[in-house]
């Protein structure tokens, strides 16, 4: 198969690109996401794809969207940040573009990108987590993406790690993504600053702000890179939660490779070191089993786009 289009539908931006069989992106385009309107979002996706189709010979379109995608790889059952509820997105877009369209969960698409062309190229069994505002998960077993019985597998960010813990947007409490995501980093940083701690006050001044509410994840990451002790502690805590959670996940899937991507992974060394230490420490029966390798994602923000494009090459299951 020749070229396919990958589309990554984010909360603010729709990124589209023409991708070849080696995972290389050719032409690109993007649109703003009209988050509150189902019709406008579908129209923006069609518009972006049509622009690329007009200039390239394309055989299929893959869409990565945040949310539960049903196992027909077409219907979005539920999207936390967009107005989709049982939305037949794939069919809708395919009808207008007149080419095959496949819809995948965005974290699955990113995981597939890393598996096919990125950090896990050589692996057969991979767990990939995308740590951004929340945590997205993707799992590859024996070279195949795990979708589950209903298409909603690998929602790893919503595994419960603390009984009765922080509330989560998914309706549960104590989900992993409330402890090991960018949102958790900012929440803890702000709480630290609001507590009046001197260390946190110093961190705010390193970040060049006075109001704790202005604190962001990238600010903390930068302050940590500059050696600010409070920011470093915050990232270490985050890394510890990441590592502990990954140890539990490794007991389920026994992967050969664990890949960590997403915005927070920009804080590379500090975070990864702390995550790996916690992971090794919490892996059950750790001295009596092989350990998986642990690595950073390689495709950056393009992982979802590339993965969605590649998944579009693979046949849609007949239901």
């Amino acid at each position: 198969m020749g070229l396919t289009i990958g589309i990554d539908v984010g909360g603010t931006k729709i990124a589209a690109g023409v991708v070849d069989a080696d995972g290389t992106i050719g032409a690109r385009t993007h649109r703003d996401t009209p988050a509150d309107s189902v019709d406008a979002t579908a129209a923006a996706i069609v518009d972006a794809a049509a622009e690329l189709i007009a200039a390239h010979e394309v055989e299929a379109v893959g869409i990565g969207a945040a949310g539960f995608v049903s196992s027909d790889r077409s219907t979005v059952l539920f999207a936390p940040n967009l107005a989709w509820r049982d939305e037949p997105l794939g069919a809708r877009v395919a009808e207008q573009l007149k080419i095959p369209v496949v819809v995948e969960n965005d974290a699955n698409a990113a995981a597939w990108g890393e598996f096919a062309f990125g950090a896990a190229r050589a692996a057969e069994h991979m767990v990939c987590i995308t740590v951004g505002t929340g945590i997205g998960g993707g799992v590859v077993i024996d070279g195949e993406l795990l979708r589950g019985a209903h298409g909603v597998a690998a929602e790893l960010g919503h595994m419960r790690v603390v009984p009765g813990g922080h509330r989560c947007g998914c309706g549960a409490r104590g989900c992993w993504e409330q402890y090991a995501s960018g949102r958790a980093l900012v929440r803890e940083g702000r709480a630290q600053a609001e507590s009046g701690s001197l260390a946190a006050a110093q961190m705010l001044s390193v970040c060049g702000i006075t109001d704790p509410a202005e604190l962001t994840g990238p600010m903390i990451t930068e302050a940590a890179a500059a050696g600010d002790p409070c920011a470093m502690e915050l990232l270490e805590d985050l890394g510890r939660w990441l590592g502990e959670g990954l140890a539990s996940i490794a007991t389920l899937f026994d992967p050969s490779t664990i890949v960590i991507g997403g915005g927070v992974s920009a804080a590379k060394e500090l975070l990864m070191k702390s995550a790996q230490v916690a992971f090794e420490k919490h892996l059950p029966a750790r001295s009596n089993r092989p350990h998986p390798s642990f690595g950073l994602a390689e495709l950056g923000n393009d992982a979802g786009l590339i993965g969605a494009a590649d998944l579009a090459r693979r046949p849609v299951p007949v239901l």
């Binding site: 059952l77 057969e124 019985a149 929602e155 389920l252 992967p255």
Partner: protein, 376 residues
């Protein structure tokens, strides 16, 4: 003899007993034997296995032997990497037993073997995405997608019992704290019951009486019996374990999204006393509940012999596959094929037939056929 009617032997190696049975292709057990497990020396265990098999072979014509063992079994299903209750460390069990017996031997994790039989003959029949949870002393787990056991890279996937559910919680023999099996297993039930009785609370009166007044003599089956008779405290104890079960299952649903959970093992004898609170907690803690299809939670139907039957059936699959290879080619010996990882091939075949049954994944089934042919 037609392979479809051939008999195999399934062996379940527990911490204290070795149980063996002759099993037919429909999963019926035709003959049984039991021995104590000699835990000290792996050789002695292997001898005990060989002895049992020879005994059964003297009365039945069997073509292969399957062994289900508690512990980490490696990806090629030949070695036991680690067994918590036995003295095995990197023990090449398959080859050692094959040498003694001269028939094909398959070694499988006991929870995987039990899950396989539930999928073939029990509560998981026809389920494309099955997760089995065995509640015994600890918690065993297995994942079956499209009829293929998921073993992971090193053969040790599905160790659900050691997923952490309480940070800094109860100590576990795996070296961690707060593992699921410290909250939702037979051990957990016993620990909680004993603790309650030790506290001297009058509510534990019936429990204590059943144990002859000694809290240390309280065990799981005792609690289940009392709960079935309506003792409110025993019912509560099972409710607590059931709630932890449901919470853990919700985690597994977030990660694995199965169509069905099959719950087996000794604790599952409590039936709805355990499963009703488990379903309630599952529904209450499931991520995205209300916006997603939910898995069924059902009880295993094959009882304590599921592991034995599953091991025997996996051995049949293996023998059938090996014979096919021998018939097709003399260039590739069975042993070379084994060295190349025969386990995954057997399952690819199973996945293929599952694909035919369900009509799903036609494309991947076809490519599996091609692969099989080119390799044979």
């Amino acid at each position: 003899m037609a392979l479809t009617q051939a008999l195999t032997i399934g062996i379940d190696i527990g911490g204290t007993k070795v149980a063996a049975g002759v099993v037919d292709p429909e999963g019926n057990i035709l003959d049984r034997l039991r021995r104590d497990t000699p835990t000290k020396d792996p050789r002695e265990t292997e001898d005990a296995i060989a002895e049992i098999v020879r005994d059964l072979e003297s009365r039945h014509d069997v073509i292969a032997v399957g062994i289900g063992a508690a512990g980490f079994v490696d990806g090629t299903r030949s070695s036991v990497l680690f067994a918590p209750h036995l003295a095995w460390r990197h023990e090449p069990l398959r080859d050692a037993v094959e040498r003694r017996l001269g028939v094909p031997v398959v070694v499988e994790n006991d929870a995987n073997a039990a899950a396989w039989s539930e999928w073939r003959f029990g509560g998981g029949q026809g389920e494309s995405h099955l997760v089995c949870v065995t509640l015994g002393t600890g918690i065993g787990g297995a994942i079956l997608n499209d009829g293929a056991l998921q073993r992971g890279k090193f053969g040790i996937a599905g160790e659900f019992g050691h997923m952490q559910v309480v940070p800094g919680g109860h100590r576990c023999e795996c070296g961690n704290r707060g593992c699921w099996e410290q909250y939702a297993s037979g051990n957990a039930l016993t620990r909680e019951a004993r603790e309650l009785a030790l506290s001297g609370s009058p509510v534990a009166h019936n429990l204590l009486r059943a144990a002859g007044g000694d809290p240390r003599k309280i065990n799981g089956p005792m609690v289940t019996e009392l709960a079935k008779d309506g003792d409110p405290v025993a019912v509560e104890l099972l409710e607590d374990v059931g709630r932890w079960l449901g919470i853990g299952l919700a985690n597994l649903a977030a990660a694995l999204d199965p169509g069905t959970f099959v719950i087996g093992g000794g604790v599952s004898d409590a039936g709805e006393l355990l499963l009703a609170p488990a379903r309630e907690a599952f529904k209450r803690t499931l991520t995205g509940r209300g916006f997603r299809p939910e898995a069924r939670i059902v009880r295993a139907v094959l009882g304590p012999e599921a592991g034995m039957v599953g091991a025997a059936d996996l051995a049949r699959e293996e023998a059938t596959w090996l014979r096919r290879v021998r018939v097709k080619t003399t260039a590739v010996t069975a042993k070379t094929a084994a060295a190349r990882g025969r386990s995954t091939r057997v399952e690819r075949a199973a996945r293929k037939s599952a694909a035919r049954r369900t009509g799903l994944r036609a494309a991947s089934a076809e490519s599996a056929v091609e692969l099989d042919d080119s390799e044979a």
